[in-house]
Structures are given as structure tokens and as C-alpha cells.
Amino acid sequence: MTTRTAAGLPESWSVSLPEFEGPLDLLLHLVRVNRVDLTDIPVATICDQFHETLRLMEELDLDIAAEYVYEAAQLIYLKSRMLLPRQRNERGEEEEDPRQELVERLLEYRRLKEAAQSLAEIHSLRREVWTLPKRPLPEAEREDGIELGDVSLYDLLGSLRTVLLRYDYEHPLPLHLRGERFTVRSQVERLLASLEAGKVLDVLADLKARGSRGEVVAAFLAVLELCRLRIVRLHQTGDGGILIRATGARLAEHDLEALES
């Protein structure tokens, strides 16, 4: 049990009170300061003092407080039962002392608390003993491989984490390429370049050969523009195909520039 003071603690900790490990610890403390026998607890007194302490502890962590409140309710119940005369069962024996369960819990807790105390003492003695710090030593390969006894679920989780980290490293997020932009002008230039030698071009085949939807639209608009400017002519074939043929007219530079906007 240590004493908390307000100094150096977050603002919410403004109480200065002995710190208990839990409601049972507080009960043991009350039993001790009242100098009463653990096996014959004056429930009313202890119950009142318990509630008084809780009021002081109100500013404590709510999560912890909940367990204290539960114990406080148990104490009130016990106090009420202590007020009633004990009933006798069919054989005329008095029923069990209502405090029995609480006493057993306190005794068990006190035993374990003592054990914890002795562990603490051993721990502080053992701190004087130094060994090599733990470090993985490459072990000679053993036939049975990993010693399973030494692998805990935590080790497994650790391995999983490593695997996932490595996976992320080996599979980086896909590169984000900036979307290609196709301009009508570039498509006009491309079409003119392939039409130059008075060749005939299948429009549908040309459109199909484009790499993306955006490029198809740009190429289609380019064909329309070239028609409008009478630089090409379109011919329909008997089987529904569309051919494009250069008329021989030159594309004026200002027309090309107009396509930019």
C-alpha cells in the first residue's frame, strides 16, 4: 500500500489517500486499523468506514470505483443480515454466520497478499543477482526443431506481426500513376501522320486500337474535327465499315491551336 499525493499527478488526481489494491485490500486495512479480529468483524462499523472511504475516493478512476461500490453494497446486505436473528434449521442448529463467506475471502486474499509480499522481497533480493542479458543465441540445429514448450501465443502473434510487416514490405501499395490525358490535338496529329501518304484508314479499327476510353473519345472527336475542317473525308464501305482518307488539304496552324482550347 502506498500513499498517493497530489504532486506530479494528473489534474484529476487531487485526493491524497492511501492507495488500495482493491476493495478487499481496503477491508483488510480497516480491519487492521480498528484492531479487530478478522474472524469476528464488527460489520456495522467496518461497513460505515468503508462507505466513508468511498466518499473520499470519489475522484478515483470510475472503473476501479465500480468494484468498490459492489463490495459496499455487499457490506450493506451483510449488515442488514447481521441485524436479523439467525434462523435455526430443522435440526435446531443455527445457520452459518453470514460473515463466513466474507471472512474466507479476506483470509484467502490476505494469504495471497502475504505471498505477494514475499515475492516482492525475493524480487528485490534477486535484483542483486546479474546474469547475461537475454539475447537469442544461434542454437545448433536440433532434430526436433523448435522446442514447442517455449513458444507462447504471444510468440505466435509476434511472428504473425513480422510476417505481415514483411508482406507489406514485399507487396508495396500499387503505384498511383497520374491519369493520362488525351487531347484532340494530339489525336489529330497522330491521325494526320498515319494518313500522310494518301493512305486509307479504317476508323473503327483505329478506334479499337486505342488504349483507353479517354483516348477513344479524343480520337473520335479528332476524326469529327478533321471532317469539319475538310481535311479528311469519310467513306462508308459495303459491310458497314468507315474509312477515312485525307483530302490533301493542309491543316492550318491556327486551326490546330484552336483545338487546344
Partner: protein, 196 residues
């Protein structure tokens, strides 16, 4: 160098390098099966040499079912002059209580620990798991299948115990507190109900 002297030297070397307690059987594996008897004598000689002899700075101790070299406890003061005591930070009272409960009542579930302490023990438990003093040991076949916890060999090594049997029996603490069975039995026939 006689063969025996080399054996002792080899054992010393292995103990020097090992970072965790090595079981005797494992130590003796470094020698030929045929030399087993000789090897055991060599080990005894090494153990004697590294007993609580005041002329040596390191001693062999038997913990967690194995042997390892550690410094003599009374020399700690010299060590802290040069080295920082890393990883030897204190355990909180909550962690020690939880550790004591796991040590004495294992295997045990988190709800059972909470019942015994009267308070949630989640965070001390995770501290103990992180420091590898307790480990998960399967699940209890009851509603909710809670995890069971046990202490580890690191726990034994840290507390200088060879096995769990070396834990002081809980009853000893009772005696220290001046409680005996008679008093416990008296609870049932305690005084008449007090006035509120």
C-alpha cells in the same frame, strides 16, 4: 591437458555463453555418450568450483530446472557503477499480487484472479505476459472458454526457484500471521449478531 580438464573447461565455456538455465542432461549432451560418468564428475567439479566460493565473482545457480552462471549477489554494488540495471525494473504491487495468485493457483483464469483480488486484473496480467513471467496455457472448458494462465520458466529464474515446488507453502504465511485452524473453525459459532 587431460581429457577431464578439457571437459571441465568445456562445461565452463558452455555455462558462460548460455543465456538461460541449461538442464544438466542438456549440458552433458556436449560429450560422448560413452564418457557420461566422467562427464558427470567433471560437472560436479565445476559446480563445486563455482559454488558460494568467496574468491569468485560468478557462481553457478540451479534455477528453473537448469544451471546458469550468475554474479554473486553481494557484488551488485560494483556492477551498478559501470552498468545500468536495465530490464530489472520493479513490479507493481498489483502485478505482484496477480503473479502470486497465478503462481499458487495455476492454472487459473482471469475472472478467477479477479474474484480473488476483488478487482479487475487485466492490466497487471498483460504486464506479466509482456515480461514473460506468465503465459497462456490453453482454455478452461467452462462458459466463455476463458484463457488459463501459468507461470513461466522466466518466472522461476527471476525468483531463483528451481521448480514451483520451491514456492513457500501458503500455510506458512498463515502461521506468520498467527492464525490457525481452530480460529478459522470458530467463525461458525461466533458471537450473537451485533446491534447495528
Amino acid at each position: 591437458m587431460t581429457e577431464r580438464a578439457e571437459m571441465e573447461a568445456a562445461l565452463e565455456a558452455v555455462l558462460f555463453v548460455a543465456t538461460e538455465p541449461l538442464a544438466r542432461a542438456r549440458l552433458l549432451e556436449i560429450f560422448d555418450e560413452a564418457d557420461r560418468e566422467e562427464a558427470e564428475q567433471a560437472l560436479e567439479a565445476v559446480l563445486e568450483r563455482y559454488g558460494e566460493a568467496p574468491q569468485r565473482g560468478v557462481v553457478v545457480e540451479q534455477v528453473a530446472g537448469g544451471l546458469r552462471l550468475v554474479t554473486r549477489p553481494d557484488l551488485s554494488g560494483y556492477l551498478v557503477c559501470l552498468f545500468e540495471a536495465s530490464g530489472r525494473n520493479r513490479l507493481s504491487m498489483a502485478a505482484l499480487e496477480t503473479l502470486a495468485i497465478v503462481a499458487y493457483r495455476q492454472p487459473i483464469t482471469a475472472p478467477e484472479i479477479q474474484e480473488l483480488r476483488g478487482v479487475s486484473s487485466k492490466s497487471p496480467l498483460s504486464t506479466l505476459l509482456e515480461r514473460r513471467l506468465v503465459k497462456l496455457a490453453g482454455r478452461k472448458p467452462v462458459v466463455g472458454n476463458p484463457f488459463l494462465y501459468r507461470t513461466t520458466s522466466d518466472f522461476l529464474a527471476l525468483f531463483g526457484l528451481d521448480s514451483l515446488r520451491e514456492l513457500p507453502p501458503l500455510e506458512e504465511f498463515e502461521e506468520a500471521l498467527g492464525l490457525d485452524g481452530e480460529l478459522l473453525g470458530a467463525v461458525g459459532s461466533a458471537a450473537p449478531p451485533e446491534a447495528g
